[in-house]
Amino acid sequence: MKSGGKLERILESGVFAVTAELGPPKGPNLEVVQTKMGLLTGVCDAINITDNQTAIVRLSSVAACALLAQKGLEPVMQMTCRDRNRLAIQADLFGAVALGVRNLLCLTGDHQCFGNHPTAKNVYDMDSIQLIQMVKRMRDESLTQGGDPVDGPMPLFIGGAANPFGDPFEFRVIRLAKKVAAGVDFIQTQCIFDLPRFKEFMVRVVDRGLHEKVHILAGVMPLKSAGAARYINNNVAGIKVPDEIVKRMEGAGRGKKAQAEGLKLCAEIIQEVRQMPGVHGVHIMAVEWEEAIAQITEQAGLLPRPTI
C-alpha cells in the first residue's frame, strides 16, 4: 500500500470507484464546506478539493482537506504549480499528510489571466509531471526535492490529470505514459462529452498497457442547460461539448427539465465509459451543483458505495 487510504484500497480491490469534486468558498466560510461535505457523504469514495481553480482565490485545498480528514471523509487534495514554488509545495504536503491527507492530485494549473487576480505574478517553478516525480521521491525515498531527508513518512496516493481532448491528440497518450513513468498512481480525466474520442484515447492507453500501471477515472460533468454547454464551448479550454449534446439539451427545455436531462445524460455517459477497458472509476465534477452527485450516482447504479 502506498498511502493506505480508502481510495487506494477501493481501486486496488477492483471496485469501480467514484470520486467527486467539492468547490471551496471564496472566503473562510466553513459552513459552505460543511454543507457540501454533507451532500457528498455516502455517495462517493473520495472528495477532491480544488486549489484556486480557474485562478479564482478560494479557501485552500490543504485546509479544507484537513477538515474532511478530521470528519472521517476521504479527501483528495489538489495542488497546482501556478501559485507555489517547490518550497511551499513541500511544506504544504508535510502539513497535509500530518493532518491526515492521503491523496494528492498534481496539476499544472490554469493561468492567472482567467481568474480574479490577473495582475498577479505566477510561479510555475515546476510542472505537474515534475511534481508527480517529486512527490514519489518524497514518499518512496523519503527525500525532498533538494535532497534532504524527510522527517516522517509521506504516504500519498499520487494523482494526475489527463486531457484526452487536447491537442496534439497523438501526443496526449505519450504524455500520460510520461506521467506514469514519473510515478502517478491514478488519473482523473477532463470532462468527457465526446465519447468516440475518449474511446479512441482509451484504446491507445490499453495498447500501451498503461491501464495496468495506473488507475484511470473518467471525468464527467452534469450540464445544467444548453446555455451551460455553450458557455463551456466558448470559455473553457480543453472541453468540447459536441453539437448533438447541445441540441439534446436545447430540446430538453429550461429549468428543472433541462437539469433533469443533464443528470440523465451524465449517468448515461458514466454507464458508457464503465464499459470501456481501462476505466477504473469515474470522477464527477458538478460545479456549484454538489447536490447533483447523489442523483447521478443513483441513476448510474453506483449506489450504495462499498465500505472497504
Binding site: 510542472d127 509531471i129 516525480q133 504524455r175 510520461k178
Partner: protein, 223 residues
C-alpha cells in the same frame, strides 16, 4: 533584439509639465528597428510633445538627438554638455539605454519614453514577438530550437498543458502559439521526438533573474 513600444503620451507628458528645456535622445539600434525610438520616432515625439503641452507648458524648448547605441558610454559621451544644458533628458532607448544615460550622467534627470518588453524577433513588418527569457541556461537543443521558457505561457518543461487547442495557447489564442505544439511539430520533423519521452527535471532557476541580477565577467578580457 530588444523590443520596446512607446509609452502613452499623457504618461510621458505628465513628467514634463514644468520642464523648461527637454533633450530627447533616440537610439539607432534595437529600438530603431522596432520603430519605437529611432531618429524618426524622436522627431515625432518632439512634435507630439509640443502639441500635448501646448496649454500647460507652451514655452518648453525641445532638442532632438539620436545616437548609435545608448547602452555604451562612448556613444553617449559627446552629449555630455547638452545634457548638462537641459533640465530633463527623455530617453527613447530601451531600459538599458535609459539606465546607462542615468549612470553616466548622475546629475541628470532621465525619463524613459518607452516600455521595454522583451527579447524577440520581427515576424513581419510591424510585428515582433518574444523568443528569449534570458534564463541563463539555454536548453534549445532539447526542444528543437523552440524555447519552452520564453514561449510557453507557463514555462513548462514537460508540456503541453490542457490549454493547447489547435496549436494556440488558451491565454491568448489570437496571438500566442502553443509552444509545445511547435516543439512537438519541430522535433517530429527533425526525427527527435524521443527527446520528449524523458521527464525533464525541475529547472535550476538560480541562473535566471530569479537568482538575482546577473553579471558576466570575462576575466580573460578584463585588463
Amino acid at each position: 533584439m530588444i523590443v520596446a513600444k512607446r509609452k502613452p503620451l499623457p504618461e510621458i507628458a505628465a513628467n514634463l509639465q514644468s520642464t523648461r528645456k527637454l533633450l530627447i535622445v533616440g537610439c539607432n539600434t534595437c529600438v530603431a528597428i522596432c520603430l519605437a525610438g529611432g531618429e524618426k520616432e524622436v522627431a515625432v515625439m518632439g512634435s507630439a510633445l509640443h502639441l500635448a503641452l501646448r496649454n500647460t507648458n507652451p514655452a518648453i524648448v525641445i532638442t532632438q538627438r539620436s545616437i548609435e547605441r545608448q547602452c555604451e558610454e562612448e556613444f553617449n559621451a559627446p552629449l555630455a554638455e547638452e545634457i548638462a544644458a537641459h533640465d530633463v533628458v527623455l530617453s527613447m532607448a530601451c531600459g538599458v539605454g535609459v539606465q546607462t544615460l542615468a549612470e553616466q550622467f548622475p546629475s541628470a534627470i532621465v525619463y524613459p519614453a518607452l516600455n521595454t518588453a522583451f527579447m524577440g524577433r520581427p515576424e513581419e513588418r510591424g510585428i515582433w514577438s518574444e523568443r528569449c527569457a534570458g534564463c541563463g541556461n539555454c536548453v534549445l537543443d532539447k526542444f528543437g530550437g523552440v524555447c519552452p521558457i520564453a514561449r510557453c505561457s507557463k514555462n513548462l518543461l514537460n508540456g503541453p498543458c490542457g490549454g493547447s487547442e489547435q496549436g494556440k495557447c488558451e491565454v491568448d489564442p489570437k496571438n500566442i502559439d502553443c509552444a509545445w505544439q511547435l516543439i512537438y511539430d519541430r522535433l517530429s520533423r527533425i526525427g527527435q521526438l524521443d527527446r520528449l519521452l524523458e521527464v525533464e527535471p525541475p529547472k535550476d532557476w538560480s541562473t535566471s533573474r530569479h537568482g538575482g541580477p546577473r553579471k558576466i565577467v570575462r576575466e580573460d578580457m578584463v585588463l
